[in-house]
């Protein structure tokens, strides 16, 4: 876009370029993705608020003490933490341009993530089998919504991870794939941050109550 400023004495309008200088592709991707993560953070904040309000309304149903197995939660937490560090190794090997090693670390990350989801689904199935369904009490509704939303995010992250492994396998560590892997890195570590809130406020404080 060009904008006319004061015509000069000759009557000819003087133009200057009002456009921003061009940015390379993906210039603002990481900031944009960070802002998406912050909006996701607000979703989780609302779910935490709902759990905080309703977390003690058992409706004469089972309480956290009767339901939660802290050993299992500790195993699950370590799965997610290990997947965080293995994703970190994938990013390090990516910077060294080692495709095979990057793929291997991504695969290990995916396996830890799948183990996390598997353990969580087993826990949910066990609870539902015992009659602790989301319909049972406000506490359980809030619990399944919050922890289920987190699990859904991790599942989406797994799909994304497999997609990127196929991308890297087909096209190698091109600039676009590096950018995508970096976004997934932020997403994956962000989910681990949310899980810190989940195991502290839902599981540990729940059992303590």
């Amino acid at each position: 876009m060009t904008v006319a400023v004061n015509p000069s004495q000759t009557g000819e309008p003087v133009f200057y370029l009002a456009d921003e200088h061009p940015h390379p592709e993906g210039y603002s991707t990481s900031l944009g993705f960070w802002i998406y993560l912050m909006s996701d953070c607000l979703i989780f904040a609302m779910l935490f608020a709902a759990f905080g309000v309703l977390g003690a309304n058992y409706a004469a149903g089972p309480a956290p003490k009767d339901l939660f197995d802290l050993d299992l939660v500790a195993v699950n937490t370590s799965m997610l933490l290990l997947s965080s560090i293995t994703y970190g190794f994938a990013m390090l090997t990516m910077q060294q341009n080692k495709i095979a090693q990057t793929q291997m670390w991504l695969l290990i990350t995916g396996l830890f993530g799948a183990a996390f989801i598997g353990i969580e689904l087993t826990e949910f199935a066990h609870m539902i089998h015992e009659g602790a369904t989301p319909q049972r009490s406000a506490f359980l509704s809030a619990f399944f919504t919050l922890v289920g939303t987190h699990g859904l995010h991790v599942s989406c992250g797994l799909i994304w991870l497999v997609t990127l492994m196929v991308q890297v396998w087909r096209f190698g560590l091109i600039e676009a794939n590096r950018r995508r892997l970096m976004c997934l890195s932020m997403f994956w570590h962000f989910l681990d941050v949310v899980w810190i809130g989940v195991f502290t406020f839902v599981y540990l404080l729940g059992v303590l109550r």
């Binding site: 900031l31 904040a45 709902a50 905080g52 390090l92 910077q95 941050v193 540990l204």
Partner: protein
């Protein structure tokens, strides 16, 4: 991005600015800190070491906050300089929103609960 792993400042012009990011030692330090900061709260709750539940609750919440900061620095590579400060700006804005929403919800709903007329009094008013 570049292929040089040793020079963390080499890609200072890129989206990840001069912050020392993606180093093996950084990830390992973050991981070890996270393991310790996770293990202690679990151990405190499972063993019931501390005399009162209130103290235990406060301690594990403090551990959670510290661990979130550790993850932010070592895994998410947050620094006041990343993206010319816009990442930090977005984060601070989000924290303000989250604090208002969480404390507001808990405060209001707690008062609503304590001011609600008990069910037996309500039935007596018919």
């Amino acid at each position: 991005m570049n292929t040089d792993t040793h020079a963390s400042h080499a890609d200072a012009h890129h989206h990840d600015d001069g912050h020392a990011h993606s180093t093996f030692s950084g990830y390992m330090l973050g991981f070890v800190l996270s393991v310790v900061l996770t293990a202690i709260p679990f151990w405190l709750v499972m063993s019931g070491m501390l005399p009162s539940k209130q103290i235990t609750a406060l301690v594990i919440m403090a551990f959670a906050i510290v661990q979130i900061v550790v993850h932010m620095i070592y895994f998410l590579h947050m620094s006041p300089k990343s993206e010319n400060g816009w990442s930090m700006m977005a984060l601070i804005f989000t924290i303000v929103m989250v604090v208002i929403a969480l404390s507001g919800s808990l405060w209001v709903m707690n008062h609503l609960n304590s001011n609600m007329m008990p069910v037996h009094e309500m039935t007596g008013m018919k």
